[in-house]
C-alpha cells in the first residue's frame, strides 16, 4: 500500500504543497521541449523530403555551433561568424547532396540511413581534427542573447526564469513558425511537399530533386545552428551535445516523422514529461529515470498510434 501511496498520491500532494516548484518544473520542461522540438524539426525536414532518417542531425548541431565559436575565436566578429556558420551549412548541404545523396539515389532507405551514419562519424572526426575535443563557451553575450535571471515571488515560493531560456523559447517558436509558413505558403515549400509525396510525380512536373535536397539539408543545417546556439548557451558547446540530439528520437516517435506540428507537440510532451517524471517520481527509484522515461512515453504512444500523433496514416495495399 505504501508504494501505491508513493506513486499515486504523494507526488500530487507535493504538487499542491509547492505549486511554485510545479510551475518551475513545467517551465524547465517546456524550454527543454522547445529545444528538443527544434532538433526534431531538422530530422523531420530531411525525412519529409527524402525519406531519409538523418542520423547526422545531432552532430550537425555541434558542428555548426563549433564553426560559429571557432570563427569568433579566430577574430571574426560575432554576427559575421554567424553568417559564415550559416554559409558553411549551405556548403555542407551541397557536399552531402553531391557526394552522398546523388550517387545513392534509388537505393533502399536503409542504405541512405547508413550513409548518414557514416556522415556522422566523419563529421565527428573532422570536427575534432579542426576544433579539438575541448568544450567551448557559446558567445552568448556577443550574439546579444539576454543573460541573467528574473525571480518572481509567487505561489508561496519563487519561480526563476532565465532570460536565455525565454529567448530560446521565443527564437525557437519564431523559427518553427517561419518554417511552417515556408513549407506551406511558398513555391519551394510546395515543391518540397510534392517530393515528399512522390519522387516520381515530382520529377514528372519538373521539380529538381537535387535542388530540393540541397534546400532541405540547408534548412536542417540552419535549424541545427539555432539549436546549437541555444543548447550551447545553456550548457557549453562540446561533442557530448550530439548525444542530447538523440532525445529527438522519442519526439519523432511521438509526433511522427513527417509532421512539423508533430515535432513541436512531441517535443513539448517529451520535455515536460521527462522533467515532471524525474522530479516527482524519480526519487522513488533513486533518480536518473529521465534518460529512459522519454522513450517509455514514446513507446506507449507507439502502441496506440504507430505513425505518431500527427504522422500520416500507414496504408499498405495488398
Amino acid at each position: 500500500m505504501d508504494i501505491l501511496y508513493k506513486v499515486f498520491i504523494e507526488p500530487f500532494l507535493f504538487m499542491g504543497e509547492a505549486p511554485d516548484l510545479l510551475v518551475q518544473t513545467l517551465w524547465e520542461g517546456l524550454v527543454s521541449g522547445v529545444l528538443y522540438a527544434l532538433i526534431a524539426l531538422g530530422f523531420v525536414l530531411i525525412f519529409k523530403a527524402s525519406g531519409v532518417f538523418n542520423f547526422a542531425q545531432g552532430i550537425m548541431v555541434v558542428f555548426s555551433a563549433l564553426i560559429l565559436v571557432g570563427l569568433y575565436e579566430k577574430g571574426v566578429p560575432a554576427f559575421l561568424a554567424l553568417i559564415l556558420a550559416a554559409v558553411s551549412m549551405l556548403v555542407l548541404a551541397l557536399v552531402v547532396e553531391r557526394v552522398v545523396l546523388r550517387p545513392l539515389v534509388n537505393q533502399p532507405d536503409i542504405i541512405l540511413f547508413m550513409a548518414t551514419f557514416g556522415l556522422t562519424y566523419f563529421l565527428i572526426g573532422f570536427g575534432e581534427l579542426i576544433f579539438g575535443g575541448n568544450p567551448r563557451e557559446m558567445i552568448t553575450g556577443q550574439l546579444l542573447l539576454p543573460q541573467g535571471t528574473t525571480e518572481i515571488d509567487a505561489l508561496g515560493g519563487s519561480i526563476r526564469l532565465q532570460h536565455l531560456d525565454i529567448a530560446a523559447a521565443v527564437i525557437a517558436s519564431i523559427m518553427i513558425g517561419l518554417l511552417a509558413v515556408f513549407f506551406s505558403k511558398t513555391r519551394i515549400g510546395r515543391a518540397l511537399r510534392a517530393v515528399a509525396d512522390s519522387h516520381k510525380a515530382a520529377l514528372s512536373v519538373g521539380i529538381s530533386l537535387n535542388q530540393i535536397w540541397v534546400i532541405v539539408w540547408f534548412a536542417a543545417g540552419i535549424v541545427a545552428l539555432v539549436a546549437g546556439i541555444m543548447w550551447g548557451a545553456r550548457s557549453g558547446v562540446s561533442f557530448s551535445l550530439q548525444i542530447i540530439a538523440l532525445k529527438a528520437l522519442p519526439v519523432l516517435i511521438l509526433g511522427g516523422f513527417t509532421s512539423i506540428p508533430g515535432a513541436i507537440i512531441g517535443g513539448l510532451i517529451i520535455g515536460v514529461g521527462e522533467k515532471v517524471g524525474e522530479f516527482y517520481w524519480g526519487p522513488l527509484v533513486g533518480g536518473g529515470i529521465e534518460t529512459w522515461l522519454a522513450y517509455a512515453i514514446a513507446l506507449v504512444f507507439l502502441l496506440y498510434r504507430p505513425q505518431g500523433l500527427f504522422g500520416e496514416k500507414i496504408i499498405e495495399r495488398i
Partner: protein
C-alpha cells in the same frame, strides 16, 4: 599480386619488425599513455594528456630520458570508453610496457585482474578502485596519493569543521551529484556509511553520461530537496554543466564542493556566479617551478607539445605532470633497485612500491613545493595523503585550507573490508607472492 611478391613483402615486413623491436627493448623503456582527446570527456582528458606527455617528453629532451634510457611514448586514444581502453591495453601489452595508466575507473576495473597475469603495473592515480590501495592484496595496482574514499572523507571532514564539528552535521542534508558510472558511484558506500554513523541525510543525484549537458532535472531536484551542502563527483563536460546549472538554479556556490577533477574551464563556465565553488586538490597550479619551466623551454617552445601555451600550468595540465612524475619516479626507483638501465614492468612495480617523494627529492626534481610528500610501500600502494581545499575566486583557484587529512579511522575499516570482499568474490584471486623490498 603473385604469391612470390606477397611472400617477399611479408618477409620484408617481418625483418623490419624484427629490427625495430630489439631497438625498443635494448635502448629504451616503453611507456604507453592512455588518453582521450576526443569524445564527451575530452575537455578534461586533453589537458591531462598534454601534461602527462610533456613532462616525460621534457625528460627525454633535457636529460636523454631517465637514467640514460630514452622513454618511448605512445598515446592510445580510449575516448574514456571501457571497451576501447581494454583494446588499448591488449594492443600495448605485447610491447613490454613498464606501466599502464588507464585514466578511467571504468577501464581500470577490468585491467586489475590482468595486471598480475601480464606483469604490468597499473597506475590509477587518485582514481580507480579505492580498495586497490592494499598492496598486499593488489600488488600490481597503485592509486596514490589518495583514494576516492579518502577524498570523500576529507570533504565531509572539512564541511564538518565549518559547522563546528562532525557531530554538528547531524540532521543536515548532503546532496551528492555524480556521474552515473563506476567512477561516480565509487564513494557512495562510504558516504552512506558516514551518514549512518554521523546522522546526516544523503540525497543522490545521478547524471547519466548522455545527460551530462542536460542537468536541469537534477538541479530542480536539488531545489526541491534543499541540501545544506552539495558534493560533486563529475568528469568531462559534466563538471562545467553542473557549475552552470548550480549558478542558474541559485544554489549557494560556497556550499558546493567537488572531488579533485574540475579544471579552470569548468569553473569559468559558471561565469561570475561560480565564485565560491570549492574543490579538493593536492598539487600546485601555475608554472613557477623549474621542472615546468623546463617543459616550456624544451617541449612547448620547441613545438613538441600539443598544449596551447596558456594552458600550461593550469590545474588539469599539472595533474598530468603529477601522474608522469609518479611514472618517472617508479622507473628511476626500479633502475636504482635492480641496477638495470632498461627496466621491465616487474621492476617498475617494485620501483613504485619504493617511491619516496620527500621535499629534498621534489627539490632535486625541480618541483619544490609543488605537492606534499609521498611514500609508498609494499602494503600501502596509495599513501592516503592529505589534500587541501581550493576556491574559485572568479578567475583562478585560491588555496583556502591547510592540508586536510583523510578520516583514516573511518576509511580504513571500509577499505580493508572492500579489499577482502573483492578477493573473495573473484574466485582464485592470487595471494601475493611478490617479495617486498627491504626499503618498502
Amino acid at each position: 599480386m603473385s604469391f612470390r611478391k606477397l611472400g617477399l613483402g611479408f618477409a620484408a615486413a617481418t625483418l623490419l619488425a624484427g629490427t625495430a623491436l630489439p631497438a625498443l627493448a635494448q635502448d629504451s623503456v616503453y611507456v604507453p599513455l592512455f588518453t582521450y582527446r576526443t569524445g564527451p570527456f575530452a575537455g578534461s582528458g586533453t589537458h591531462i594528456a598534454d601534461g602527462m606527455h610533456d613532462y616525460l617528453r621534457m625528460l627525454n629532451e633535457r636529460d636523454g630520458g631517465i637514467g640514460g634510457v630514452k622513454l618511448v611514448l605512445e598515446e592510445c586514444e580510449t575516448g574514456y570508453d571501457t571497451k576501447k581502453g581494454v583494446e588499448c591495453y591488449e594492443s600495448v601489452k605485447g610491447k613490454n610496457p613498464v606501466v599502464v595508466n588507464p585514466w578511467s575507473t571504468g577501464i581500470t576495473l577490468p585491467l586489475i585482474p590482468r595486471a598480475s597475469v601480464d606483469k604490468i603495473p597499473i597506475l590509477s592515480m587518485a582514481y580507480g578502485l579505492s580498495a586497490s590501495a592494499r598492496g598486499d592484496i593488489f600488488p600490481w595496482v597503485f592509486n596514490p596519493p589518495a583514494t576516492y574514499w579518502d577524498g570523500m572523507s576529507m570533504i565531509v571532514k572539512y564541511i564538518g569543521e565549518k559547522e563546528g564539528g562532525l557531530d554538528k552535521l547531524k540532521g543536515k542534508k548532503i546532496g551528492f551529484i555524480h556521474l552515473d558510472a563506476a567512477f561516480g558511484k565509487e564513494p557512495i558506500p562510504l558516504l552512506q556509511e558516514m551518514a549512518k554513523d554521523i546522522g546526516f541525510e544523503v540525497a543522490l543525484y545521478p547524471v547519466a553520461a548522455q545527460d551530462m549537458q542536460n542537468q536541469s532535472s537534477q538541479w530542480l531536484s536539488v531545489r526541491r530537496d534543499r541540501p545544506d551542502y552539495m558534493i560533486m563527483w563529475g568528469w568531462g563536460s559534466m563538471n562545467g554543466a553542473a557549475v552552470k546549472e548550480a549558478v542558474r538554479s541559485g544554489y549557494p556556490m560556497d556550499k558546493f564542493y567537488s572531488i579533485w577533477w574540475p579544471g579552470e574551464d569548468d569553473a569559468r563556465a559558471g561565469g561570475a556566479g561560480a565564485k565560491g565553488f570549492k574543490m579538493l586538490n593536492w598539487h600546485a597550479v601555475g608554472t613557477n617551478f623549474p621542472a615546468i619551466q623546463d617543459i616550456q623551454k624544451h617541449v612547448v617552445d620547441k613545438g613538441l607539445s600539443k598544449a596551447p601555451k596558456d594552458k600550461v600550468g593550469e590545474l588539469l595540465y599539472n595533474r598530468g605532470i603529477y601522474n608522469s612524475l609518479l611514472i618517472a619516479e617508479g622507473i628511476a626507483q626500479a633502475q636504482k633497485i635492480t641496477g638495470k638501465k632498461v627496466v621491465t614492468g616487474e621492476d617498475v612495480r617494485r620501483g613504485l612500491e619504493n617511491i619516496k617523494l620527500d621535499p629534498a627529492r621534489l627539490k632535486e626534481l625541480g618541483l619544490e613545493g609543488f605537492t606534499d610528500q609521498l611514500a609508498l610501500s609494499c602494503n600501502d600502494h596509495n599513501g592516503h595523503r592529505a589534500a587541501f581545499m581550493q576556491e574559485w575566486d572568479g578567475t583562478k583557484w585560491v588555496k583556502i585550507s591547510a592540508p586536510i587529512e583523510p578520516m583514516t579511522d573511518r576509511v580504513k575499516a571500509q577499505l580493508d573490508a572492500a579489499a577482502k570482499d573483492y578477493a573473495e568474490k573473484n574466485a582464485g584471486w592470487p595471494k601475493r607472492t611478490e617479495a617486498c623490498d627491504k626499503a618498502s
